[in-house]
């Protein structure tokens, strides 16, 4: 049995509007899977389905072969599926290290152990210097890194990153790519990367799914996606070349 986080035939409709239609997606462990698509394609809805924030209208989600059923979000996290949010969503009144400690405590550790793990994680990410800062006042890039650290507490099996590079400079995006590579190699996570920064996705991912209007229109390694006529048409418009530096 392959270890993966998988959706089978997942459909989500909101009041008759179809957000996702029969989506099959697989995030294998120890690899980076990309999910791209135009705004409104349903990417975030798909992440919500995978993390228990949105119940699918039809279809199912499985992790390593086991059906996740209709578990609430906090139970999904206990099973080892972690996520970040487009808008950061740090606990703005708490310090950075407390932000990470919350996950430890949420997953059942004592405050002392959770605190020690949080300190360890900040060290692993190279952001120990931020530990006692109040999360609310952090610059954008640091906020993203803290959010990833919070999600990585206690080494989840799968990590879903919702537009982590939005608003980052090219160098910062490169740093993030390297961090994702470390997450895969050192922690062994299966990572799902949702990004608008196509250059970064092509560089970072082993496999890419393209979502358009709620349907997966193409799946394959970066080279295939780069060459795909369908993707070019749906995602970037026919006139634009897909040479990476789209944004």
């Amino acid at each position: 049995m392959t270890e993966s986080l998988t959706t089978e035939n997942v459909t989500v409709t909101f009041d008759g509007l179809t957000a996702l239609s029969k989506v099959d997606l697989s995030v294998p462990k120890r690899s980076v899977t990309g999910l791209i698509g135009p705004n409104g394609a349903g990417k975030t809805t798909l992440v919500n389905v995978l993390t228990g924030f949105q119940a699918p209208t039809a279809g199912r989600v499985t992790m390593d072969g086991a059906d996740l059923g209709a578990k609430p979000a906090h139970k999904i996290r206990h099973l080892g599926i972690a996520r970040t949010f487009q808008s950061g969503r740090l606990f703005s009144d708490l310090s950075v290290v407390d932000n990470l400690e919350v996950t430890g405590v949420g997953l059942g550790l004592s405050r002392r152990k959770a605190s020690a793990k949080a300190v360890e994680m900040l060290d692993w990410m190279g952001i120990s210097s931020l530990a006692e800062r109040t999360a609310g006042g952090l610059p954008y890039t640091d906020e993203r890194r803290v959010a990833i650290g919070r999600a990585l507490m206690l080494e989840p099996k799968y990590l879903l990153l919702d537009e982590p590079a939005a608003g980052m400079s090219a160098e910062e995006a490169d740093d993030l790519s390297r961090l994702i590579a470390r997450i895969v190699s050192e922690i062994g996570c299966g990572v799902l990367l949702i990004e608008h920064n196509i250059g970064m996705v092509l560089k970072t991912c082993d496999d890419i799914h393209v979502l358009d209007s709620g349907k997966i229109i193409e799946v394959g390694p970066p080279a295939v996606i780069k060459a795909s006529e369908k993707v070019r048409h749906a995602y970037m418009g026919t006139q634009v070349e897909t040479e990476g530096e789209v944004l």
Binding site: F85, R89, D93, V105, V119, S129, R133, M153
Partner: protein
């Protein structure tokens, strides 16, 4: 990587300072040494229990509860049932079960049982209410208060309905009041630094991210609801032994709103705010009450018109909320030399190196 001090070591100064404040209040009473003033101070201590109890749920969860005074009512009546002499309650409260109406419990045992009684009902109500957030949750707690008040105002044979029940031993003195307030502060502090307290505050800031961090928000809220319900129950019991007489309307809208006002004025999200709010507003109320009664200047008595106190309190609240919307404490805890000084200085040191990269990225 530097080992972090334990949360207890980082925050212990707060309960110590709050204890000193309470001791100062008790000391003031001893110094003035006047029976009426001492009763005022005992009332302040009971208020501290009430507002600290409210903080335990409201401050940590961010859900404003209008219903907690109902638990105070439950605690007060429960201790009345247990401690009124059997000769009296056989006639006045005929509906009580025999085991209660034929016995009289000691003060401390009765307070304990009354606290548990309120806790059981907080659990039962909480099971339903904690799934609601924001204004929906608040209105639901208000409905709970109305339900409790209606039951206590009408169950003639058990609560005496709207007529007062009398004969509760008046045992709450200055030092029991102090002990109650001190215990409430300690319990609220321990809850706030517990795992549940941290998890609940994270959910208050960002519920969705808290759930994504594995926090079962409803469960943590229920814990806070029960702890705060018990503190309110204990406050009610001490209040019953302070007054000696009970009517259900003493535990309704008036008390609900003045207690919430004290919490908001002090700073809703901090334990220090709860204590400071009670002390400051009580002092203002007391001052105005004295002025309403009149002060003699020469051979003339000068007095404020009646009702000035209520109006002035309203005015003070508006002024405070305009200039300090997060309360007198700005939602921070009191600690030695301002908000965690040691942490701030170590943070400054360690961020020098980081300042360079930050500057570049900004």
């Amino acid at each position: 990587m530097v080992a972090r001090k334990s949360v207890l070591a980082r925050t212990i100064s707060t309960p110590i300072i709050l204890t000193l404040i309470l001791l100062a209040v008790a000391g003031l009473s001893l110094w003035v040494n006047n029976g009426i003033f001492t009763r005022t101070i005992v009332e302040v201590f009971i208020r501290v229990m009430v507002v600290v109890g409210l903080y335990t749920f409201i401050g940590n969860s961010g859900v404003v509860s209008f219903g907690h005074i109902g638990f105070m009512c439950m605690g007060a009546y429960a201790t009345a049932w247990f401690t009124i002499p059997p000769a009296m309650k056989k006639y006045s409260l005929r509906g009580l079960p025999e085991i209660i109406s034929h016995n009289q419990l000691s003060f401390s045992l009765s307070i304990t049982l009354a606290t548990l009684f309120a806790g059981i009902f907080a659990y039962l109500f909480g099971k339903i209410l904690v799934r609601l957030s924001g204004i929906t949750g608040s209105i639901a707690t208000f409905a709970m208060l109305a339900m409790i008040n209606t039951v206590y105002s009408n169950w003639e044979t058990v609560t005496g309905a709207t007529s007062s029940i009398v004969g509760i031993p008046r045992k709450t003195d200055l030092w029991t009041g102090f002990a109650g307030a001190e215990l409430a502060v300690i319990v609220a502090y321990l809850y706030a630094i517990s795992r549940s307290g941290l998890a609940l505050r994270s959910a208050r800031d960002e519920a969705i991210a808290a759930a994504a961090s594995g926090v079962d928000i409803a469960r943590e809220r229920l814990k806070a609801f029960v702890v705060s319900g018990m503190i309110l129950g204990a406050a009610g019991a001490l209040y019953a032994h302070f007054l000696g007489v009970l009517t259900p309307d003493a535990f309704y809208l008036g008390l609900t709103f003045i207690s919430l006002s004290m919490l908001v004025v002090g700073g809703m999200n901090s334990l220090s705010g709860a204590v400071v709010g009670v002390v400051v507003l009580s002092a203002i109320i007391e001052l105005l009450r004295t002025l309403e009664k009149g002060i003699a200047i020469g051979n003339q008595t000068w007095a404020l018109p009646h009702g000035t106190q209520e109006i002035a309190i309203g005015g003070v609240m508006i002024v405070i909320l305009i200039f300090r919307p997060s309360g007198l404490t700005r939602n921070q805890e009191l600690s030695w030399s301002g908000w965690p000084f040691s942490e701030r200085s170590s943070r400054q040191k360690s961020s020098i190196k980081d300042g360079v990269s930050e500057g570049a990225s900004a």
